[in-house]
Symmetry: C2
Subunit: 196 residues, 2 copies
DNA sequence: ACCTGAACACCGTTCAAGT
DNA sequence: ACCTGAACACCGTTCAAGT
């Protein structure tokens, strides 16, 4: 009815180029980055892509499936530090920093991800391999590895969530200092293993 | 139009008794407990109370304000352990356990609360006083108190979030063990202070 | 003072129909 | 194969009207 509709019909389908899953999910992620997960609606997303809302359902089963898809691609995007031969304390810190940087790049999606952990939990994820490697260096005994890595992951997750939603507007100095305190606490806590 | 409407009109207002804020917020909390925050709708809430949806707006400014109200009452409900003269290690553990119990009583609301931390942050809350007291006993120097308590609170929050959304369906033994690991890590981490 | 119905501007999703 | 419009069953909230 509106002239937007007429224009769209005239070009057969949205500007000529066909809709792709990649295009859908990256635009959806941008909307989430800009306004939080609750700002994503299938209708707004379709408008952003200059497409009929229902066209989306030809590429994606539901809004939920779309969000899960985005969660997956985000998780693969974390850049984990390699083993560089430095002491485990340094490597643990580097891992935590990398995780924090990753969270900062898509804060809203990250928060959603960790409040709906059923979406993650893929224990084959590279993060766990890296964490295991570092904890072995720290002297954590094999049977304690899984639990210890779970706990440390939970600690860092809690820390990042707090930092992301914490002090307005954003104080890098304060964040760095808090981060230092946290890493020191974790390293101290693990020190008991290598001492024995 | 439906006979429910006719019945309601006949009794003048919903079963005779007038609507109260208490009744609204406790019913809303029940709905959230049962189906998560996303299961709360003003219209479903009104139906549950056998009232016109718009009547709610006479007691509450918006759905958001209602949720904030519930967040507040929930937070006051946490039962914090008193100083009982035992070592700080025991008291820290007791505090963490109390916090976990509290989270378990309203998991959905608790998760929402900690993913929207702008709703909390009231530093006068009793939890911070208790944490400060314990950390002073642990030998944390005064200028480090705020940051250290922030970090430990973040750690416990992350741990609880993980536990709440973790292993299906619910393994108390595993939870207890993980909890032990976490508390030991924190106590070990803090031990550096009293040693000096 | 408190409650209500109709209405507005939104949602996600189904389905039958178009090219 | 891919896209579309109309429709359905929902939302939160405003507003004028009722008691």
């Amino acid at each position: 009815m509106a002239d937007a509709t007429i224009r769209r019909m005239a070009v057969s389908a949205r500007r000529g180029t066909p809709l792709t899953l990649e295009e859908i999910s990256s635009t959806a992620l941008r909307l989430i980055d800009e306004g939080g997960v609750e700002a994503l609606s299938m209708r707004k997303l379709a408008a952003e892509l200059d497409v009929n809302p229902m066209s989306l359902y030809h590429h994606v089963a539901s809004k939920d499936a779309l969000i899960r898809l985005i969660c997956g691609t985000i998780q693969q995007r974390v850049h984990l530090p390699e083993d560089n031969g430095t002491p485990w304390q340094d490597q643990l810190r580097a891992l935590a920093v990398a995780y924090y940087r990753h969270a900062r790049s898509h804060p809203a999606m990250w928060t959603y991800l960790h409040a709906h952990r059923e979406v993650i939990e893929d224990r084959t994820l590279a993060i766990w391999a890296t964490l295991y490697r570092i904890l072995r260096m720290a002297g954590v005994p094999e049977p304690e590895l899984r639990r210890t890595s779970d706990v440390l992951h939970a600690f860092v997750t809690g820390l990042i969530t707090t930092e992301l939603h914490g002090h307005v507007p954003d104080d890098p100095e304060e964040t760095a200092h808090t981060f230092d305190t946290a890493v020191h606490l974790m390293i101290n806590g693990l020190a008991g293993y290598s001492a024995r």
